[in-house]
Symmetry: D2
Subunit: 450 residues, 4 copies
């Protein structure tokens, strides 16, 4: 018997392979499904069942693809917003056996109406005591699922989640927790960076589970603020009908000439932040590989053709994989020569200066004319503390309003560390703002400076 976790960075998405003997099940597979087949193969198993704990809104489900490849059946909870074309509906109490293991379905709505959890049993040993439970987006390590997807039914669904959590805790303190997300996910903000827990540990230390009454719980959930990127709607559509397989060819290297021919494509620079600041192509969007999962869904359209600027083919391939996981398939290639070689061909480049705390402070003191200190963090972060004199515009919503900015002003952009600020700065430059720099270190440096 084995349980193996597959962590998808960026999305902090967790999927699981659980198997015994020659059979295995997969819970919440992502779109690039090779990894599940490899794990099953290593354990001498074939995949017989695929479960979705709910219709994922933050990534493309690999369930239909994995089923097509392996002959497994896909199982999904009741009451999805739209029928899931590729799945069979399961209900409370349904049991599935593979190898010597049993998974039992618990309907646990709240995050979504179709949310289920799956309790894991070793019948030969203890047929009635779950030794683990796959909780999807109902219960995480240190947090619970967000309940803001049905604005008209906000109280109702928060209450449903309270009941679902009660049902989960009734499985007993001994059950190991296997959730669908870890720290860093947009599906919950208070998750612990631990990824190991049990119902017993959560019962005692998860702040949301410590709220004793249903009313307190509902009130706390209603007070939360979550952002919902526009690509969620695209994911939901795809995960109703089933996405196409990821194409099996990594992005092609393009010479400078071939790259320049892609005049209509959007240029996405996936190199690390300082590399973008140091030199980049005019009009390119800064979006380092590690930030794609969180931000591409805000800043890019699935229908756009993209060309990448990457440090090497491996980085370009990693970027394309992450893009595909959230439904962005149109990557036409990447720039093969580095920026020095690009520039040595007589081609134009741009730079964005990084400035430090001393510089920002001096400008603030000087109340510099025509200068704006622009904070691009989320609402909750800004409410928790901001620099006096700064303006605010959430990065995710910048594309919609960047055209309204005064192109003649001088902007210094800040966030938590300078990473999101660089992304924002690239949007400002593209929108025609001439004078943009990035406060590297940002709020972190500001606080450290006292």
């Amino acid at each position: 018997m084995f349980v193996e976790k597959v962590r998808t960075e960026g999305l902090a998405h967790l999927s699981w392979v659980v198997g015994d003997g020659t059979e295995a099940a997969v819970i919440d597979p992502r779109r690039d499904v090779d990894v599940y087949q490899r794990i099953a193969q290593e354990h001498g198993c074939r995949i017989t069942h695929v479960f979705e704990t709910h219709r994922n809104e933050d990534l493309v489900s690999g369930a239909p693809l994995l089923a097509a490849r392996t002959g497994a059946t896909v199982h999904h909870g009741p009451n999805p917003a739209e029928p899931i074309a590729y799945a069979e509906t399961v209900r409370e109490g349904h049991r599935f056996t593979f190898g010597g293991l049993t998974l039992r379905v618990l309907e646990t709505p709240g995050h979504t109406d179709d949310s289920i959890s799956l309790a894991l049993y070793d019948p030969a040993f203890a047929p009635d005591t779950a030794f683990g439970v796959f909780t999807g987006d109902a219960l995480f390590v240190g947090d619970v699922g967000r309940t803001d997807f049905y604005p008209d039914r906000a109280e109702e669904v928060a209450g449903l989640l309270f009941d679902s959590l009660d049902k989960l805790l009734a499985l007993g303190d001994q059950a190991v927790l296997y959730p669908a997300h870890g720290a860093g996910s947009v599906c919950g903000s208070g998750m612990a960076d631990r990824e190991v827990s049990t119902l017993g540990f959560e019962r005692r230390h998860n702040a949301r589970l410590l709220l004793e009454t249903r009313d307190d719980f509902v009130a706390a959930k209603l007070a939360e603020h979550h952002e919902k990127p526009p690509y969620f709607a695209h994911m939901e559509r795809l995960n109703t009908v089933g996405a196409e397989p990821v194409r099996d060819t990594p992005p092609a290297p393009l010479s400078a000439a071939a790259f320049s021919e892609q005049a209509d494509a959007r240029i996405v620079d996936v190199r690390e932040v300082p590399a973008f600041l140091g030199a980049h192509l005019a009009g390119s969007l800064s979006l380092p590989v590690g930030m794609i999962a969180a931000w591409a869904g805000w800043l890019l359209e699935p229908s756009e053709t993209l060309v990448l600027v990457a440090s090497d083919g491996e980085e370009a391939a990693a970027a394309a994989t992450v893009l595909a996981r959230i439904g962005f398939d149109r990557v036409a290639g990447y720039l093969a020569p580095g920026l020095p070689a690009w520039a040595a061909g007589g081609r134009a480049f741009e730079t964005i200066p990084a400035v430090d705390t001393e510089t920002v402070r001096a400008r603030l003191r000087g109340a510099a004319e025509g200068w704006t200190l622009l904070d691009v963090r989320g609402v909750e972060e800004v409410e928790a503390g901001r620099i006096e004199g700064s303006g605010h515009q959430f990065l995710g919503e910048l594309p919609a309003c960047v055209g309204d900015l005064d192109q003649g002003r001088h902007y210094t952009v800040l966030c938590g560390s300078g990473a999101r600020a660089t992304v924002a700065a690239s949007l400002l430059r593209r929108a025609g703002v001439e004078r943009v720099d990035v406060y590297l270190g940002s709020m972190g440096a500001w606080k450290a400076a006292g």
Copy 2:
């Protein structure tokens, strides 16, 4: 934060890497330590601490090697049989912090006097509630440690283990269990093939923990029967002073001529059982890769030079790795041409027939003259059911008594499936017994036939 398991097949040994931020600790590393460094590297960590839950008797510890490579310190419990040259002694209540995690020492003697457990805390979240515990050979999934290593103090140490388990359970139902062995180990016979559990699950379902009184527990432990292979003494010596690193060169392929020059070396055939039966070299010991960990310590001497017969270089390398883990370092190479090519060079080979239930039954019915049906399973297995008319000699002790067998008799060897029987048959043939065959299917087939 991460906890990663490293499973060593054959020994069913589990070691663990636990890390956070840029620092990690390793619990009970095996001798080939690359895997721990790779895991740490993947998580962006350096290894700062190595812990041994006790002086391992069934495999060579990699703790001193890993410490030498990484600069980590090695920590070992109090009261080892002999001082551990490479380790610092830790005691009840000592705490070690790396990244944002804390490990707290619990002295948990019983299996050995120097046994410790290590409770795992996430201080920022819950400084007093362990979310996991590394239990070494004190507590397993479905079993507890064996307590037969101090025959003169049998009752005492069984009692010590009872107390240690009490101390462990006091950590709470919520703690995830990280033991040093899984199913298939010689360090406990009742382990579940699950490798996922919590103190809560064990408290409810582990047969040994369900014994309510200390006396009942001690009585149950005293009634157990365990085999202790002779190489344990060798391991204990090595793990006091620290073993040499594993050599970094896989076994060399040898042409038939070069192989034949190794006249003084012991020939070990690591191919699968049917391949050995089909054709093998005269005098060779059958010991398939997957059986090496369990049986080499009974059947080979660490001082012997070995040459392997393997299906290919990869299998030979795997065999050499397993041999090194239990202290057998002298592998001079492997036979590169397969048996057909060996035979096509005009070189001699032998075969051992596989016989089935029908044949064995007919011989038993006929009370064949000069024929013995020889059962080589362990005492506990034989006591649980045997074929009437069969003799018994435990495989592990066969080397000591094989010379006493009547070389003129015809032996059919059996075990659970035919695997150990083939190993035994190879020993009989080497000892000069002319007529040997193997009951393929053995007790499994016998029972299936009713």
Copy 3:
């Protein structure tokens, strides 16, 4: 600039990736094309051209698949037996440039009418001197292509090949040779086991090129004897229209019960020869992984559903890959438990004894009644030396005549080493012959014994 060789074992097929800058071409890709994309990616290249030196008859071409994945164009010589649906026709003198390299087409018919060679130039350095040449099946290291595919035009096509070789040699002694096959291929019998040569070396030492006149060359070619397995026709059909992609899922492990349910499937045992002799399933065909490429096309039908007996999942996957390369796609899974576990479930197995020279000699001397020594080697091998008293039946044609054998006779099968003999023995057993054994060592051992 790089030239990388991809060797496909079993078929001894050589394909090539040649690239420069950010562009690469592939010559004669096999069906599992990932390897070409990986090589191109490692060199920072995208694949822009795919060339077929002729319509392959011995393996499935990957050209259309690779083109579909990468957007490359496929180029094929003129005069194919049937139009190649997925390729553009190239002619003498056509030039293709990618990166800084040029490939020039030479029409080199003889092996087939559509055979071309491709001379390789580095124009910046020496625009008129080829530094290498891809020769397909026209010229090999130590041999030339077979010319027996047009029986009605035997003399004509042998003469065409003579002229083609003249054209090749005119490129100069300095050109490195990049052929489509190495030693062990069915596409030529005299190839050197070297895979490194130049036109200069071949001109001096290739026995066929040392024949001075066209007439001598034609005569020599007409005197050759080649076998043509029945699957060649299937390959030729596939390589006209383009094969489907290989399925991306390795064979599934099957429990003994699940395996037994596949009652209509053909059982193919891909383990090594001695393992089959030691124990195997009734009715199974012995076909070790390394022999599949050479023999599956003689002994299996592409339309048959196959289930494998393999040592492990990795071996089963390797077998499925080789089967797919020659058009056998229907692998339903493999038996996961080994033969001992299979037998321990009370299931039947069979064995085939291996016998040695002494035994064979004794039987020959005794002129054993009802016994036949059956040689299954090829005609050319038998003509070069055989054991007096043996019968002969070429393994490839055994399926067609095995039904005519006397099921009551006792057969000892031999070949060069015992490998093909084991395959033949499995066919005899399946056809109902009760008493079959294999002369392990076979002609090799016979000669060594003098």
Copy 4:
């Protein structure tokens, strides 16, 4: 039979594994020798011989390490500057046989006195015709070895090389060329970026071989200009006695705090050029991974302790591997958080602006006061064309004279593309020059702009 090339990037060093049957030889192994063992293992060979074509001056030889691991013997030519402690001396005409292959020694002095070449024969096929030759640093694809290592005997050794090349060409046009370097090496400046050639191709197209008389050849060689980095002397010492094995632990990740504790270590920033420009640590040396092999030997001391700034652990490990290949072993770790996180901790960073052709041209036109355009390319490059008004100081010699620069001046640094200029700029900043920028695109952009 196989010949496999191992290319060491940066040094453009080529080493070779040639094998047959179960035996293989390695020519000119580098210090990290795992790759040779892996290749031998894949081909079912053990390494029986190691050859050095001469005492390498540009990298650490792995010959003694490989011999210690495998039991192979090491063979070196006669007349080394100092005795090679770990090798046996071979002489003209010595033959070595492994598998079915033979290597014959040719003494080919000129590059060094101890240079040998090794002709490769397939005796069964053509005992007197070499099908390949390992030429070390005597003959390359498109160039010949440099002959500037004995300044007092410059004419003599150039003449010796002429004679050696004659000896090589006498092997015949058909021989494949296996040299010790490819394009990009400091051991010869005119090498083709092809890495495939034959003696026949070189005879016709290698400019140095087209010089007909010994005198013309010697004159041409004396007119060459080569740089000799100071670390060559260190390599020569190491390669006389044999270096220690590379340590088997990759650089440890260091938190910002742990990194800051390494106050005495030299900070080497191995990220790509634009990343350094965008943000870097004060006092750090810019040395991207791909430039280490060429420049570390000029700019660093083997005795210095280094700490790295890298994009991730993989890049840090790659950097440490390259450093070890040229004898720099003291890497104490790498900075784990990226520059944004470093800055967010309130820690200082610096930037260097990249400027373009327009800016440089404007400054030149304005004859800016206190401003210097500094060219850091090699002498031969500068002689082939420079920007009027620029100063020159070769990057390799900058450490020795950077202290003499006027710290108050404003420097714009240029090279071919901006890469070496960034390295130089980091040296200037470290030496206290306040105002430094880099002409990104440099001479390439300048020429493209006309």
